[in-house]
Symmetry: C2
Subunit: 130 residues, 2 copies
């Protein structure tokens, strides 16, 4: 069992090409014994964003604070606190902060993932699932 404050969990940079001023806390992961899926918290600073990218696993998202924009290949959709978002596998997506304070949201993912080939063969860098 684990019971902590969110702020007790390490805040790390999102090291993905295309990410800007985005940080992540792995709130619950396989390090805690959670074998099947992980809960992460993203903090995207004003003018920051996650990369516009694609992968073959889903996102289950709950917005906690701030204002943002969800961008997918289907269009744009404003994000506000207590919004619920499900992003299907294999859908291009991005989260942008459009406000003046951090955009904070939970984003859970399955632990077992298969990476899809990048659409841009010249793309590189580490992937950490945002």
């Amino acid at each position: 069992m684990k019971h902590v404050r969110f702020s007790d969990v390490l805040l790390e940079d999102v090291n993905v090409d295309g990410a800007k001023n985005a940080k992540i806390r792995w709130l619950i992961s396989n390090k805690d014994g959670a074998e099947r899926f992980s809960m992460r918290m993203f903090e995207v600073a004003p003018e920051g964003n996650t990369p516009y990218h694609i992968h073959d696993f889903e996102h289950e998202i709950f917005v906690l604070d701030g204002q943002g924009m969800l961008v997918t290949e289907n269009g744009e959709s404003p994000m506000k606190p207590w919004d619920v978002i499900y992003v299907d596998p294999n859908l291009m997506h991005q989260f942008k902060n459009t406000g003046d304070k951090p955009l904070i949201f939970l984003c859970s993912i399955p632990n077992e993932v298969k990476k899809v080939p990048k659409r841009n063969p010249f793309g590189g860098g580490k992937v950490n699932n945002c």
Copy 2:
């Protein structure tokens, strides 16, 4: 893809023996295409609680509002907004509202679960995974 307000999702009674004044919204589930795990929101009214029970799947919890108490076979632990809780499979647990407004928390579970035999052979009723 799905992008909704939490309040757009049906609020249902928790129909489990031992639950009191507890409601649930299935924010993201296999009805949305989420095959591997589901995100639910619980709303427990003042003086309400989920049942003290056990099952062989995990909970990944994020507290959103209100004040409560997590009760497990290992003891009690106060719940407050932005607390993070991981409940291991096969651990007795319960969530109680100890405040004067609703205790609201997210609780994600895997979709594929195996129910463990109830410890009380005289127990009955429907199970809906709180």
